[in-house]
Subunit: 357 residues, 2 copies
């Protein structure tokens, strides 16, 4: 009784076989299907589910022009030298007015893209049936399931998105530049809350020490207040797991010149220390459980949207109410109630069908 | 059986009485309740429903620094001189890294904020229970119901948001500046599709004529191709109303120096012409019917999110599945199906209760 038209179970089963065999082309196809929620995406994600959790997920965010792509490339090279396989997810929730610049960044990254141990995927704004944060987490799951050891999630700092995307990461590196602002006051609260490591990039420019000092001051003041230092945005911690939270982490503030390859190993070390902290404090498990929880909630919402708004009868019924909505004899809230009341089986019916392995 | 805890019917009823009497404080309170979806917001919106549709809604979008706030202020002044009441909704889906600059814009706008015939509301990023586009349309409905004649919706061009927000407007003015990009190629398709009028602002700077020429060329090429010139993004036109679409509109490309008050009356004239075109072609009614349709869909989704994710028993059940999700014995898609299957009455139950007038 699935609503999803899986092209053929066999096609997805074969893709998953090639995927498990480590075929790069199968990874690229699987990522495309998942990213765009094409038929079979649920089966691909479900097949990864038990494998997910091996990769370290590192988010990089910061204002446009902070050098995030260069830094991502530098980090990827070091992880490759360590023999690790690297996935890069570049999230571009960018303005339609500034599309050009970011394309340039992508092109600069292409020299590491030739390395077979690196997989790069650029993701742009999503349609209404799924959010960018969801898509990012799902693509990370596919890369994780494929066997990537480190996943770098780069997102440009515009809007709510970078906060959402940070929730897909285990550790978040916030990249600032001396010219980011005259004052640290321009950093809204959200950024302080998601940052696990700060770096002042382009630190050979004037103002780098001042910015580092300002960030440290802000962090120090918060640490000295006796309150828990930071709480992840949107963290609705289930009561039965809150006892696992232990220890505090004061985000280190580093300086880098990514273009000159300066300070990169310090970033790697700080991220390693943060990851050990996450493991030892139990917060890693907590964050990953929270991700699972959010994942189910997002899937429920997506299933409902898909089942309602791709149903011809529901849409035809809605269109038939437009005259009465237009003349004011019905209000939208009443129509919404009516629509839900008559959609019982659409709302509750089974949606997901596993493929036969 | 409403899930919404309305503080008291009486409080909302009294607020609506003051609102109908034209009390500015009641407008401000109503907007705040609606913007934040506080208890009673549905009753306030429902009370506006039959009144909505009198105001002209004009969207302004463009890259940061294009001078949108100045232009908005200039347009508002002229509409005030025409004796019209003006609502301004400034949508800031901005980066946490660049909060400072926009605050400055808001302050510059404050001289017209002292005019009792002007109501200004700044809106920032919304939480997960409702999107920014929805909130914008809802706030516009309140301003419309209050009796504003013109509503200016200003949104900074970052991400998908400005395309969403444009759907809340009848006419969209796209504001560019000579330095927007070396070439019109940087304008992604979405911008061309939402623009009803273009202006090259800061037109006293070098490159203004070139930019204007490039935009006109692009529009002309598209017009000459024989294909329908433009189709509003996300326009799922119901089959029974598509016959109403008639005529084409070629967006004029104007030049302004908003800071020097140059070219503003030409913008007003172009927007007036576009509005007449919308009325005469039947597209105004079509756009507004599409907004009603989208509104119901958004309300359905919001009701479902609220009813599921604020239900203690549902969340407790979900938390109880985390162990099996974590050990891989259950996949999120199955848990989502289970959750929906057992939530029948939550999903279909009545949500909205009208207040007794």
């Amino acid at each position: 009784m699935s609503m999803t038209t899986v092209p053929t179970d066999t096609a997805i089963t074969r893709l998953l076989e090639q995927f498990r065999a480590g075929t790069p082309a199968a990874l690229a196809r699987a990522v495309s299907i998942v990213e765009n929620h094409r038929p079979g995406f649920e089966q691909i994600l479900a097949a990864q589910h038990a494998l997910v959790g091996r990769a370290r997920r590192i988010g990089l965010t910061g204002p446009p022009g902070a050098g995030k792509s260069t830094l991502t490339t530098r980090l990827a090279r070091i992880y490759r030298e360590q023999g690790l396989r690297v996935g890069i997810v570049a999230v571009d929730p960018t303005s339609p007015f500034t599309g050009g610049a970011l394309l340039g960044d992508r092109i600069r990254m292409e020299d590491i893209a030739l390395d077979p141990g690196v997989f790069i995927r650029s993701m742009a704004t999503r349609g209404s049936l799924g959010g960018l944060a969801t898509a990012t987490r799902e693509v990370c799951d596919v890369l994780d399931g494929f066997g990537m050891d480190v996943i770098l999630i780069e997102t440009v700092g515009v809007g709510q998105s970078e906060l959402d995307v940070a929730r897909a990461a285990d550790s978040t590196l916030v990249v600032l530049v001396p010219e980011s602002g005259d004052s640290i006051q321009t950093l809204k609260a959200g950024v302080m809350e998601i940052a696990d490591v700060f770096t002042v990039n382009k630190a050979d420019r004037p103002g780098a020490d001042r910015l580092r000092h300002d960030i440290e001051l802000m962090l120090g003041l918060r640490a000295g207040s006796g309150k828990p230092l930071r709480r992840r945005e949107g963290a609705n911690v289930p009561a039965d797991t809150s006892a696992e939270t232990a220890g505090t982490w004061v985000p280190p503030v580093l300086q880098t010149v990514a273009a000159e390859n300066q300070g990169i190993t310090q970033i790697i070390e700080a991220l390693d220390r943060h990851f050990r902290h996450l493991e030892q404090s139990g917060e890693l498990r907590l964050r990953r459980r929270m991700r699972l929880r959010e994942q189910v909630m997002e899937i429920v919402e997506q299933q409902i949207r898909q089942r309602l708004w791709r149903d011809g009868a529901t849409l035809a019924w809605l269109d038939a109410q437009l005259d009465r909505l237009e003349d004011g004899s019905l209000v939208p809230f009443t129509v919404a109630d009516m629509l839900r009341a008559q959609s019982g089986s659409l709302l509750t019916g089974a949606h997901y069908t596993p493929v036969t392995p």
